[in-house]
């Protein structure tokens, strides 16, 4: 099964430190097509940092990134996008003062043959994508700062899927959302999964992501505690991994696992 396939993403022995602190230490994770992997850990466990290396926001000090088994050079966000890696950041990373269409296409604007911005074409596409994602969304002409948290989130998600992402990274995707919007995001994740997109979900709250994920990878103090398939472990066991670094029998321990006496 999974073992026969080439992983979509393989991050091997990644390390990065900031001013002598090992934010990520020798961490390895992998992601297969059509798979949802939850990356769990406390605040400051290094999960966001690890994923920012994949999305090009940080440069790693050591280790390799393989996309479809091939070594990938990712030095900045533009490189990551070339490999089909799209990221939805915890902070949403939208420009508040421009409208939804401008945000969707930020950095990849559609242009007319004269080289000017093709605003109508962008708005048309924005209306189409947003219509699929969030049919109630109508405020296309207003700056994003006038929108609610959920609407902003849908803009951020629409931006990621608009460009046929193959690898989607979602950092705390439901942290700012109400229950109904959270359910919507859940539906969306299932839909994207069926399309064969690999998804990293990053969260410090196991309840947000446990039911959506196929596998969990747990980090603690910058190291990977272990990996497990969600069907093999219970929520309590995963909590044990997050809090104590204790690896249950059916999980595969990593370098950060608690040393058993």
């Amino acid at each position: 099964m999974l073992d026969n396939q080439t992983p979509l993403v393989e991050m091997r022995n990644i390390s990065i430190s900031f001013g002598g602190i090992h934010a990520v230490d020798n961490a390895s994770v992998e992601l297969y097509p059509g798979e949802v992997v939850a990356l769990l850990g406390h605040n400051g466990a290094g999960k966001s940092t690890l994923i920012k290396i994949l999305s090009g926001a940080y440069k790693r000090d050591g280790g390799d990134i393989l996309i479809n088994g091939e070594p990938a050079e990712i030095g900045n966000p533009r490189d990551a996008k070339k490999y089909g890696i799209e990221t939805i950041y915890q902070t949403l990373a939208v420009a508040d003062n421009v409208d939804a269409a401008a945000n969707l296409y930020l950095g990849r604007e559609l242009r007319t043959p004269w080289g000017t911005l093709d605003d109508v074409a962008m708005e048309a596409k924005a209306r189409e994508v947003m219509g699929r994602l969030n049919p109630n969304f109508r405020r296309f002409k207003e700056p994003v700062k006038a929108l609610s948290g959920g609407q902003r989130q849908s803009v951020a998600i629409a931006r990621a899927i608009l460009f046929n992402a193959r690898i989607l990274i979602m950092d705390e995707p439901t942290a700012a959302l109400g229950p109904q919007e959270t359910a919507q995001v859940g539906e969306l994740i299932k839909q994207l999964k069926r399309e064969g997109i690999g998804i990293f979900l990053i969260s410090h709250d196991i309840h947000d992501v446990f039911d959506l994920a196929d596998r969990v990878s747990v980090m603690k103090n910058g190291q990977v505690v272990g990996h497990a398939r969600t069907e093999d472990v219970t929520k309590d066991e995963v909590l044990g991994m997050i809090i104590l670094g204790k690896v249950p029998p059916k999980a595969i321990p990593g370098p950060g696992a608690m040393q058993m006496a």
């Binding site: 990373a93 420009a95 508040d96 930020l106 990849r108 109508v120 708005e123 209306r127």
Partner: protein
């Protein structure tokens, strides 16, 4: 069809009975902030008109106002982009001085040696030299800000001193005069105006452009099935736009050549001197045309080009812009390069107008330029601002100053008033924004 759907939705969202005035503004999509500024300008004009006993709202004074505004208005368009990206440029006055001095020396001392005095290409080569100088200075500032990480406040504060000092070194402090005759047309005056016929032609083209722009926008929205403005709103916008253009040209054409110049012209061309004097219209002044052209180009850059979109995105959220893959540092360098080039255009206007390049040219212009942009609605917090607003801001400031000159108010008091107006304008803007939320 789409119109009704949209307005129904809005009405539901904002309460069923919308006030007719509000509905008017929403339908026409007129920026109420800009309209507020026009209102302020009207109040200033009318109060000066009354207090000067009818000296203010004359074709002559209004025509002079537009000419005096053009230099700062040109720089204010660039300052908008600088401030939108949360930067500041304190050096524009000094860069203006330096570019002006370089252009002065080029046209009065260097180029005539090779081309002969009064050669028709002198003005163009001079302007090119000025533009390259200004752009290079701006690019240098931009590189230091973006790649060496020195805050723009400091870099341009240094630039303020450096370029003012450099201006002195070009001629060891001597004033350069006179300027090339063709170059001087950029400064306005009787010669530097395009006359009645050409002015009406410009007005006609402008009106056609307004109508075309409205039609084109409507057709585009129809093609994609977006909500459109009600048709009456389009007529209002087109009508007001054309009326403003025609009114402006009518005023410029109502300002006639001074009698002695007209007499000289009549003598030179063998025209008989009629009773009541020869009435020759000034028409639009060349510097005003330059400023309007700069305004149009800068509006195009900031709203229609990818570069402009990036400028605003960076202003709104620098981190998001960077994560979206925008090369934010290069955008910064390009903004400052553009600012430098605009300083050179402003320098051409002001040296041409003065018919000399001096050491003190452009002193305090950085403050007037920043004030114009800020009064025109550019937020120092970044992310918001319009080119038209900044130009209107420059016009408001110049109206105030010119009115006070007509009233015979001393220049120290003028500065006090301008300073207070700046603070009050920003305070009003803060109140407006707080309410808009």
């Amino acid at each position: 069809m789409a119109d009704t759907v949209n307005s129904v939705h809005l009405n539901v969202a904002r309460g069923a009975n919308e006030h007719p005035v509000r509905r008017f503004f929403r339908a026409t999509e007129i920026d109420t902030r800009l309209l507020g500024m026009v209102g302020a300008l009207m109040i200033i004009w009318i109060s000066f008109q009354i207090s000067t006993g009818g000296l203010f709202l004359t074709p002559r004074n209004l025509w002079n106002l537009t000419v005096q505004t053009s230099s700062v208005a040109v720089m204010a368009t660039g300052m908008v982009l600088v401030i939108v990206t949360r930067n500041i440029d304190l050096s524009v006055g000094s860069v203006l001085g330096f570019c002006g001095m370089v252009m002065g020396v080029a046209q009065a001392q260097i180029l005539p040696q090779y081309l002969g005095l009064g050669h028709p290409a002198i003005w163009a080569i001079t302007l090119l030299i000025g533009l390259v100088t200004g752009a290079a200075i701006g690019a240098l500032h931009g590189v230091i800000i973006a790649f060496l990480g020195v805050p723009s406040f400091i870099v341009t504060l240094g630039g303020l001193l450096v370029w003012r000092g450099a201006t002195w070194f070009v001629t060891s402090g001597q004033t350069v005069a006179p300027m090339d005759t063709t170059f001087r047309l950029m400064g306005g005056g009787t010669e530097g105006s395009i006359g009645a016929t050409a002015s009406w032609l410009v007005a006609l083209i402008a009106c056609l452009a307004i109508v075309w722009a409205l039609l084109h926008a409507r057709r585009q929205r129809k093609r994609f099935g977006f909500p459109r403005r009600p048709i009456w709103a389009e007529y209002v916008l087109g009508g007001v736009g054309c009326a403003l253009v025609l009114g402006f040209v009518a005023v410029a054409n109502a300002y006639y050549w001074p009698a002695n110049i007209a007499r000289k012209y009549a003598d030179a061309n063998g025209i008989a001197w009629p009773d009541g004097g020869l009435l020759i219209s000034h028409g639009i002044a060349v510097p005003v045309l330059v400023a309007i052209a700069v305004g149009i180009v800068m509006t195009f850059i900031s709203t229609r080009l990818r570069f402009g979109r990036y400028v605003f995105a960076i202003g709104g959220n620098p981190e998001a812009a960077e994560l979206a893959g925008i090369k934010t540092r290069w955008v910064t360098v390009r903004i400052f390069t553009l600012m430098g080039a605009l300083c050179a255009i402003a320098a051409a206007i002001s040296t041409a107008r003065l018919n000399a390049a001096t050491n003190a040219q452009g002193e305090l212009d950085e403050l007037y330029t920043i004030a114009a942009a800020v009064i025109g609605g550019t937020s120092l917090a970044g992310g918001t601002g319009t080119i038209a607003g900044a130009m209107l801001g420059a016009f408001v400031m110049q109206s105030l100053q010119s009115g006070m000159v007509l009233l015979g108010i001393d220049s120290p008091l003028q500065r006090i008033v301008v300073g207070m107006v700046l603070v009050i304008a920003v305070w009003l803007d803060t109140v407006y924004r707080a309410r808009a939320k």
